[in-house]
């Protein structure tokens, strides 16, 4: 093929420019560390990279959420531990106050400490987190959830706790609404409660409660009246006698599948009121204990009532301990879930980052050798161009 002079120059320049463009691209890749300089370099890879980045950002968000939830739940856990300590202390005080060797003065001092524990319990229940939100307020997290009134504790919070997402499918509650933590505990043995009559004069005190046949009792209150110191009869709310029997101190009164263990000697005419167990809150248990301890003692009846009340408080405190333990175990379960999600997430993040890097990062070894190759190519093009351009027949015409 015939070649024109300008073609020689054009072809030379063009090949130099092509080599320069390739060299420039490789240089940009090396400088940025990215294999893809624009999505068009690898459209599918570019979109994958976008998706991976989004997934990674999502996981980072879950990580932040998890850290937040962990902080909140740890806080709740520590508050619950303190509530547990308080329950233990109050239980000790109740046992101590129930001792016959106590004088009215020492009882008053114990009652004083119980009231302090009550104040502290209110403080615990109204704990705020770092943001100033009440831990146990539910959705109404900016209002103090528990208020002390003349008739006892009132819950003003919401009945649902906030959740955060720790994975695409898993959400954990950041706390528990206060009424589910400090309120709603079962009373007595969970079935029924027996109290000493307010006008009792004898020393009969309720000691133990048990159920032998769960179906026999219809669940309505019963009144147990001692017709004599050694004889009793049980009446239903209509005044009908449903059972009767004899009693000796320390013996158990049993009827309709229920058994009530008494101690001491009731006087004739003393009554014991039996009612189905309800639910109560921790605050009123503390209140009851303090009230019982401050009760002036003028006779055997008062003493028996005080002793009976403290006994019931002890039973309720045990219920409270069980209740708080149950809440703590759900908190622990949530913390575990956050932990296991975190482990799973870390491996996922690692995997995603690795794949992302595979998609968009440059293989430096390959790129550098390509860079060298291009440079050699460019040099060759430049050298051959300059040599070729020096050739002319005119040089030989003299």
């Amino acid at each position: 093929m015939r070649i024109s002079t300008s073609q020689i120059y054009n072809a030379g320049i063009e090949s130099i420019q092509r080599q320069q463009a390739e060299l420039n691209k490789t240089q940009l890749q090396l400088a940025s560390g990215k294999r893809m300089l624009a999505p068009s370099d690898d459209p599918a890879g570019a979109v994958q990279a976008l998706q991976f980045r989004e997934s990674i950002a999502r996981l980072d968000q879950f990580e932040r959420n998890g850290a937040l939830a962990e902080g909140r739940l740890n806080h709740e856990e520590s508050v619950l531990a303190q509530a547990m300590d308080s329950l233990q202390r109050v239980r000790e005080l109740a046992v101590q106050g129930n001792n016959a060797t106590q004088t009215p003065e020492t009882r008053a001092a114990i009652a004083q400490e119980v009231r302090q524990q009550l104040d502290q319990l209110y403080q615990l229940a109204n704990t705020r987190d770092a943001n100033g939100e009440y831990l146990f307020g539910g959705f109404a997290s900016l209002d103090a959830p528990f208020a002390a009134t003349a008739t006892g504790a009132v819950y003003n919070g919401g009945d649902q706790a906030r959740e955060v997402a720790i994975s695409d499918i898993r959400r954990v509650a950041l706390g528990d609404p206060g009424d589910a933590v400090f309120m709603g505990m079962a009373e007595g043995n969970g079935r029924f409660v027996v109290t000493e009559g307010a006008a009792n004069t004898g020393s009969g005190v309720v000691q133990t409660l048990a159920t032998t046949d769960g179906a026999a009792w219809d669940g309505t209150p019963r009144s147990i009246e001692f017709t004599a110191a050694d004889a009793w009869e049980a009446r239903d709310p209509d005044g009908n006698v449903v059972a009767a029997g004899s009693y000796a101190p320390g013996e158990t009164i049993a009827f309709e599948g229920l058994s009530v263990g008494l101690q001491g000697t009731p006087a004739a005419g003393d009554t014991f009121e039996l009612r189905p167990a309800g639910t109560r809150d921790m605050f009123s248990v503390y209140q009851d204990l303090a009230d019982a301890l401050e009760q002036p003692l003028t006779g055997a009846g008062d003493q028996a009532r005080q002793s009976g009340a403290i006994g019931r408080v002890l039973a309720d405190l045990d219920q409270a301990v069980g209740h708080i333990s149950a809440v703590r175990s759900t908190v622990g379960a949530r913390l575990n879930a956050i932990d296991s999600q975190a482990t799973q997430r870390e491996s996922e993040q690692l995997e995603l980052n690795r794949t992302l890097s595979e998609i968009e990062d440059l293989d430096y070894a390959e790129a550098i050798s390509r860079f060298n190759l291009r440079m050699v190519g460019l040099q060759a093009a430049q050298q051959s161009y300059s040599m070729l351009s020096r050739m002319s027949l005119f040089d030989f015409i003299r």
Binding site: I3, S4, A38, A46, V47, E133, G138
Partner: protein
């Protein structure tokens, strides 16, 4: 006899002088890309019979020919048009490509930060600070939409400007070709049928430049002039007359220029017939790149705004009031057709994100009812009587605002085209963000409730579009992929077209280009022939002198 030698010698002197000057012309134009090398064609003079036989009478220059191949020229024009089209298209694709995937300017990071801010409010709904951050991120997101839209709109304006400039250039070149046609016809006449080579080169050069602007066909006429056709056979140049193209808006969109062929005062729209060259590339880029990209981006904006608002309205804010508008939902672009008698226009609202589509719709009135169809398709998607409501493809069109419609009135609807520029943040009070759901007991405090915020945060992952197959970020990723693939294809096509162009240039150079070594050799050859001819004359002179000397004695 000696006069015969003298005649032969002087004819040769003259011929080689011509040949040397043509060689000089070739050398002079060695660097001129439009030049076709010329060649002297020598011809033996008619011999004379001199009894003993026929005696040669010397040499004549029969023609100065131009080394040009019509077929090569034609191929070069086609390849120039193809390469220019691909080059322009690739430039626009590349800009869109870089714009969309830019880690700083693309939409993805803004979308991520926005949904992260929603999640942060869910984590801490009572914090005004995190709510404020959410509003800022929402503003950032809508700014990002607007900036992407703005950058694409800029591209569109540059493109429209380039269309106008290309049309002007085409007109100038057509004038030039028409003028050269006249000169060439005259030249052929004056030269007794000999072609004016340099004028032909000039005309070819103008044709090449014209081909760089738009694909043309040429028809050579017997008189040497060349007719130039554009589009599907519209005459741009006929003999020494050139028609005029103009870039003007002829459709419903006053900002979208069409290409029109203006002859005797009437403009005929040839936009869809124009292919190839820079102009063809520009029109293709507008139709195949900018339109769909802006539509897709707009659809992402609309889907985000309407779904987020819908969910937001379910919730209640910090003060327990129902959630208001969070984003301001963009409005659809509605363009009344030229010559509509109707006043007012339809109100278009977006009702179903899953059914939303891109592209253009035509709402037209047949005298009885309005019907909606895809632009350029006769399929009726929905119809309703005047004053009624149409619903199709996620849109709801209220016709109540149109009055005085006559048969044939129509509107062009582009629901998504400008939407990305119109999304905004309607909420300005951070307390107004509805992170909570309505409480079960009316009036209860909801400050700590984050249930709606959790739902809103999950919206980013939800597949809302394309009948529930594509998420919001997914729809943007689709756009990135589409533009990326188009750019990749455009790059490959531009490369291969450039290679083809290079080849046909080489072919033209091979036929028509000047090779200086060849000319140097010719120079020597003609110079020696010239010197030899001079020697012949000298010999003739000596012969004459010899004869004279013999007679004088």
């Amino acid at each position: 006899m000696s006069s015969g030698i003298l005649g032969v010698g002087s004819s040769a002197l003259l011929a080689y002088q011509r040949a040397l000057s043509v060689t000089g012309q070739n050398i002079a134009n060695a660097g001129n890309e439009d030049y076709s090398r010329q060649r002297v064609e020598l011809e033996v003079r008619n011999p004379q019979f001199a009894g003993v036989g026929w005696i040669g009478q010397g040499v004549d220059v029969s023609n100065i020919s131009r080394n040009a191949d019509q077929f090569v020229q034609r191929q070069l024009m086609d390849n120039t048009a193809g390469a220019a089209r691909q080059e322009v298209f690739y430039q626009y694709a590349q800009r869109a490509d870089n714009l969309l995937a830019d880690a700083d300017a693309g939409l993805s990071p803004a979308l991520q930060s926005f949904f992260a801010a929603v999640e942060d409010v869910a984590n801490d709904p009572t914090s005004t600070a995190s709510r404020q951050v959410l509003l800022s991120e929402a503003q950032g997101l809508s700014d990002r939409f607007a900036s992407l839209q703005g950058r694409m709109e800029e591209q569109r304006q540059v493109l429209e400007g380039q269309v106008g400039a290309a049309v002007n250039d085409i007109n100038g070149l057509a004038e030039g070709i028409a003028g050269l046609n006249r000169q060439i016809v005259e030249g052929i006449g004056q030269g007794g049928g000999k072609p004016p080579n340099d004028l032909l080169d000039q005309r070819d050069a103008l044709l090449q430049r014209l081909a760089g602007l738009v694909s043309v066909q040429t028809l050579e006429q017997d008189d040497g002039s060349l007719n130039v056709l554009v589009g599907s056979g519209q005459s741009l140049v006929v003999g020494s007359e050139a028609a005029t193209l103009s870039a003007q808006a002829m459709g419903d969109d006053p900002a979208r220029s069409d290409i029109a062929m203006v002859s005797s005062g009437t403009a005929v729209r040839i936009t869809d017939l124009v292919t190839g060259g820079e102009l063809g590339g520009l029109l293709d880029a507008r139709r195949e790149l900018l339109d769909p990209a802006q539509d897709a981006l707009g659809r992402t904006a609309v889907a985000l705004a309407m779904s987020f608002n819908e969910l937001h309205a379910q919730g209640v804010d910090l003060d327990g009031a129902a959630g208001g508008e969070f984003f301001s939902v963009p409005e659809a672009q509605v363009l009344p057709a030229r010559g509509n008698t109707a006043a007012g226009g339809p109100a278009v609202s977006f009702v179903d994100a899953a059914a939303l589509d891109t592209g253009e719709y035509r709402l037209s009135f047949d005298g009885l009812e309005w019907s909606l169809g895809r632009s350029g398709s006769s399929v009726v998607l929905a119809s309703a009587p005047p004053g009624g409501t149409l619903a199709a493809e996620g849109l709801e069109i209220d016709l109540a605002g149109i009055s005085g419609a006559a048969d044939g009135d129509n509107f062009l609807l582009r629901p998504m085209r400008v939407a990305a520029g119109e999304i905004g943040v309607a909420l300005d009070d951070p307390r107004g963000f509805a992170a909570a759901l309505p409480p079960e007991t009316a009036g209860a405090s909801v400050v700590g409730d984050n249930r709606n915020a959790l739902e809103l945060a999950a919206l980013g992952q939800q597949r809302l579009l394309d009948g529930g197959n594509t998420s919001i970020s997914g729809s943007y990723n689709d756009l990135v992929a589409e533009v990326g693939v188009k750019t990749r294809q455009a790059e490959l096509a531009a490369d291969s077209q450039a290679r083809l162009l290079e080849q046909s240039r080489a072919q033209r150079e091979s036929v028509s280009g000047v090779n200086l070594d060849e000319e140097a050799a010719n120079l020597l050859r003609y110079q020696q022939a010239y010197q030899a001819s001079a020697q012949v004359i000298a010999v003739a002179g000596t012969m004459f002198d010899t004869l004279l000397g013999a007679v004088r004695r």
